[in-house]
C-alpha cells in the first residue's frame, strides 16, 4: 500500500462561530477516489474548506497532514501550489479579468513554485487548447471575464478545465454535479476521469449517487452531523440511494 497522501485525524472545525465538524478521520492514498456523501448541512463543504484553507473556516482540534507535512500551517496559495485543487460549489465571478489570463497566472504560479520555467503565451495556448476541447469550452468563453455571465453548467465546466490544466495531486470536487444537466454531467465526468492516475487522488463531494455512475469511486463515506458515520466501497452509494440518509443516521443510533 502506498503511503498516505492525506491523513485527517480527529478533525474539529467551526464556521460562523459554530462547530460543524465533530471529529473526522480519513486517509486518502495516491490513486484513490473517495466519495463523500451526505445530506445538506452535514459538513461536506466545511471539510473541503478546511483542506483548501478557506479563511472563514476555523480548525479547533485535530491534525491534517498532506505529503507528511502539517497542511494547516500552509497558506491557501501554498496548498494550491503543492497540488491541492478545490473545484468550487459556487465559483466566483471576477469582472474584467479574462479566464485565459487568470488560468495562465495560476499555472505559472505553480510552475514557479516547483522550479519549472513559466510558460509563455504560445506554449500556454497549445496546452490549454487541448483541454478546452475536452471540456467543450471555446475561445470566446476563455476571453470572457472569469465566470461572469456564465451559466451554472459553464461555471462547472470551467472549474474542471482549470483542474485539468493545473493537474493537481489532490483534487476536491465540491458538488460539481449540482445544477448540471445530463450532457454537462458527462462532459464534467470525462474531464475528471481523464485526470485519474495512480499518482493522483480525488475527493468527490456529492449529494447524489448519479455522479458516481460516471466517476466510479474506490471508497464511499457517509458524512452526517459533522461525522463520518459509515465507510464502504462503491456499493454503499447504491445502498444509500435506495434507502436514503435516514437509514444511516438512524442505524448509527445518534
Amino acid at each position: 500500500m502506498s503511503p498516505p497522501l492525506l491523513e485527517i485525524e480527529d478533525l474539529h472545525a467551526s464556521a460562523g462561530g459554530e462547530e460543524i465538524l465533530h471529529g473526522i478521520d480519513l486517509v486518502v492514498r495516491a490513486g484513490e477516489v473517495h466519495a463523500v456523501m451526505g445530506p445538506n448541512g452535514s459538513g461536506k463543504s466545511t471539510l473541503a474548506g478546511v483542506l483548501a484553507g478557506k479563511p472563514s473556516v476555523e480548525v479547533t482540534r485535530g491534525k491534517v497532514s498532506y505529503l507528511g507535512r502539517n497542511l494547516l500551517e500552509l497558506a491557501p496559495e501554498e496548498r494550491a501550489r503543492e497540488g491541492i485543487f478545490l473545484a468550487f460549489q459556487y465559483p466566483v465571478e471576477i469582472p474584467g479579468v479574462s479566464n485565459m489570463y487568470f488560468l495562465k497566472a495560476a499555472l505559472n504560479a505553480g510552475r514557479k513554485h516547483r522550479g519549472q520555467e513559466e510558460l509563455d503565451a504560445i506554449d500556454f495556448l497549445a496546452l490549454v487548447r487541448e483541454k478546452m476541447k475536452l471540456m467543450q469550452i471555446d475561445d470566446k468563453m476563455m476571453n470572457r471575464s472569469i465566470n461572469e455571465g456564465f451559466s451554472g453548467g459553464e461555471k462547472k465546466r470551467n472549474e474542471v478545465l482549470q483542474m485539468t490544466v493545473l493537474e493537481p495531486r489532490l483534487a476536491i470536487l465540491d458538488e460539481t454535479d449540482s445544477g448540471l444537466d445530463i450532457d454537462a454531467l458527462r462532459i464534467v465526468s470525462d474531464g475528471v476521469n481523464a485526470l485519474r492516475s495512480p499518482a493522483r487522488a480525488m475527493i468527490v463531494i456529492t449529494h447524489y449517487q448519479r455522479l458516481l455512475d460516471y466517476i466510479v469511486p474506490d471508497f464511499v463515506h457517509v458524512l452526517a452531523g459533522g461525522r463520518i458515520l459509515k465507510s464502504g466501497g462503491k456499493e454503499l452509494a447504491l445502498e444509500l440511494e435506495e434507502k436514503g440518509y435516514a437509514w444511516i443516521e438512524g442505524g448509527a443510533g445518534r
Partner: protein, 481 residues
C-alpha cells in the same frame, strides 16, 4: 482573513517611488501673493500688456471669491502668502536646444522614466517637460512643425503665436470660473500649448510631464489645445513630486477647443505625492479642466487615472456646443491612506443630437475617501441628446468610503439619460478563489482591481496603460489573448 487583510494594508501603504529631490539652484520669487509678484512673473516671461492686464483682473477677482466649500474634501485653510509662485531652475541663458539643458534636469527626467535626449526618447511620443514653474525642454518640435503642428511651452506660444493665445485663452474656462481657476489665471507660469491645423492628424502622441521639485512652491500651469477642423490629436500628461511633510498646491487650468469634425483625446496619469500614511504632506491637486466641442461633429474624450495627491479636486468637462458633438469621460480614481478625491465631470449638452458617455471607477483603500460628482445638463435646444453614465465603486477594507453625487438637469423632453451605479467590496470569496488557484493575495488584489478598471485602462494609449497598471499596484505581465 489574515492574508487578505495584510494585502489590503500593504496596498494602502505602498511606497512612493518618485519622492526624490533634484538638487539644483533655483531662481525664485519671494513667497507671497500680491500685484508685484504677478508683475514680476509677467516681466520674467516678457509678456504683452494685455496678458498682464488679464492676470491682474483675475487676481482682483480672486481676492473677492470664497473658497469652494461644496465638495467632500477637507483641509486646513491654505496660506496663500506662504507659497512661492515662481521657481525656475537656474540655467544661465535660455537653452536653444536639448544639448544646452542642465544635465541634472535631464537626469531627473530620465529617473522618472521620461528620457528627453534624442537617442533615448520614447518612440512616437513628443514630450514637453515642465519643472516647477517653467518648461525645460520640448522634444520632436521640428518633426511636428513639418506637419504645421505647434507644440511648445505656453510661454513660448505667448511670444510666437500671441493671436491664437489671445483668441482662445479663457474662452473655455473664464478667469472668474472658480477660486482655483482664478488663482491660476493670475499667476500661471507655464504649461503646454498645442495647435493642430485643419485636416492634420497628429502623427505622434503629445505629452507633458509635470514635475514639482522646489520646496514651498505651488505649480500653476496652463494648457491650451486647439484642434482645427478635421484634425486629430492625442495628448497625455503625467506628474510627480518629491516627498515632503508640507502640503503643496497645484492649481492648473486646461482648456481644449475642438472645431468642426475635430477630435481631441486627453489622457492623464496623475501621480503627485499622496502624503504619508498619517496624512502628512502631499499635493493639493485643484484642477479645472474643460473642453469645448465648438464645431459640429467634434469630439473630446477625457481619460484619467488618478492615483496620487493628498486631495484631488477636478472635474474634466465637456461643453457640447456643436451639433452632433461627442463628449467622453473615463476615470479611475484610487484613494489609499488618508487621500481624498472628489472628482467627476460635467457634460453640458447645448447642440442637437449631442452624445456623452461617463464611466467612473472609484477605488478606496485604507482610510481613503472617494467621491464621484457629475453633472449632466441638457439644454432646451439639445434635441435628441443622449447621455450614458456608469459609476462603480470598489472598497478595499472597512475604513474607507465612497460617495456618488450624480446631478441631472434636463430641459429638453427628447433627451435620453441613463445612469447606473454599483458599489462592491473586494470579497473574501474572490481572494480565496484566486489563492486556491495558487495566486498570491497581492497578485489577486492587483488582478481584481485591474479587472475593475479595465473599461477605463483600455482607453489609454499603450505606453500609459502599462504605467497606469503599475501605478495601481498591479503586476499584469503580458496578458494572454
Amino acid at each position: 482573513m489574515a492574508g487578505s487583510a495584510e494585502t489590503l494594508e500593504h496596498l494602502a501603504n505602498r511606497e512612493y517611488e518618485w519622492g526624490f529631490v533634484t538638487d539644483i539652484e533655483a531662481d525664485q520669487a519671494p513667497p507671497g501673493l500680491n500685484e508685484d509678484i504677478i508683475r514680476l512673473i509677467s516681466t520674467k516671461k516678457n509678456e504683452p500688456a494685455w496678458l498682464l492686464e488679464w492676470r491682474l483682473r483675475a487676481y482682483r477677482r480672486w481676492l473677492e471669491m470664497p473658497e469652494p466649500d461644496w465638495s467632500t474634501v477637507q483641509h486646513l485653510p491654505i496660506d496663500y502668502q506662504n507659497i512661492v509662485y515662481y521657481s525656475a531652475p537656474k540655467q544661465g541663458k535660455q537653452p536653444k536646444s536639448l544639448d544646452e539643458v542642465d544635465p541634472e534636469l535631464l537626469r531627473t527626467y530620465e529617473k522618472l522614466g521620461i528620457p528627453l535626449l534624442e537617442q533615448k526618447r520614447l518612440a512616437g511620443v513628443a514630450v514637453d517637460a515642465v519643472f516647477d514653474s517653467v518648461s525645460v525642454a520640448t522634444t520632436f518640435k521640428h518633426e511636428l512643425e513639418k506637419h504645421g503642428i505647434l507644440f511648445s511651452s505656453f510661454s513660448e506660444a505667448v511670444q510666437k503665436h500671441p493671436d491664437l493665445v489671445r483668441r482662445y485663452l479663457g474662452s473655455v474656462v473664464p478667469y472668474s470660473d472658480n477660486k482655483h481657476a482664478c488663482l491660476n489665471s493670475a499667476v500661471f507660469t507655464d504649461g503646454s500649448f498645442v495647435y493642430v491645423p485643419k485636416g492634420v492628424r497628429c502623427p505622434m502622441e503629445l505629452s507633458t510631464y509635470f514635475r514639482i521639485n522646489a520646496e514651498n512652491t505651488g505649480q500653476f500651469e496652463r494648457t491650451l489645445i486647439i484642434a482645427d477642423e478635421q484634425s486629430y490629436v492625442s495628448y497625455l500628461e503625467g506628474c510627480t513630486a518629491p516627498k515632503r511633510d508640507e502640503n503643496q498646491l497645484h492649481a492648473a487650468v486646461v482648456e481644449l477647443v475642438a472645431l468642426d469634425d475635430a477630435e481631441i483625446k486627453y489622457s492623464t496619469v496623475q501621480n503627485w505625492y499622496p502624503g504619508d500614511a498619517e496624512g502628512r504632506g502631499g499635493i493639493y491637486n485643484f484642477v479645472t479642466k474643460r473642453g469645448k466641442c465648438l464645431g459640429k461633429r467634434s469630439k473630446i474624450s477625457w481619460t484619467q487615472v488618478e492615483t496620487g495627491s493628498a486631495i484631488t479636486w477636478k472635474y474634466p468637462s465637456c461643453i457640447l456646443q456643436g451639433d452632433d458633438s461627442i463628449g467622453e469621460f473615463y476615470s479611475v480614481a484610487l484613494t489609499a491612506n488618508r487621500q481624498q478625491a472628489d472628482t467627476g465631470t460635467k457634460m453640458i449638452h447645448l447642440g442637437k443630437r449631442t452624445r456623452s458617455t461617463i464611466v467612473s471607477k472609484g477605488i478606496s483603500a485604507g482610510r481613503g475617501v472617494n467621491a464621484y460628482r457629475g453633472l449632466v445638463k441638457i439644454g432646451p435646444r439639445a434635441d435628441g441628446a443622449r447621455n450614458y453614465s456608469q459609476c462603480d465603486s470598489l472598497l478595499l477594507g472597512d475604513k474607507c468610503a465612497a460617495h456618488t453625487f450624480p446631478y441631472l438637469e434636463v430641459k429638453n423632453p427628447t433627451a435620453t439619460v441613463e445612469h447606473e451605479a454599483t458599489t462592491s467590496r473586494i470579497g473574501e470569496d474572490q481572494l480565496f478563489f484566486c489563492q486556491q488557484r495558487g495566486i498570491s493575495p497581492e497578485d489577486a488584489v492587483s488582478m481584481i482591481v485591474n479587472g475593475f478598471c479595465k473599461q477605463v485602462l483600455r482607453k489609454l494609449p499603450m505606453e500609459f496603460a502599462v504605467e497606469a497598471q503599475k501605478l495601481l499596484g498591479l503586476s499584469l505581465e503580458g496578458s494572454v489573448g
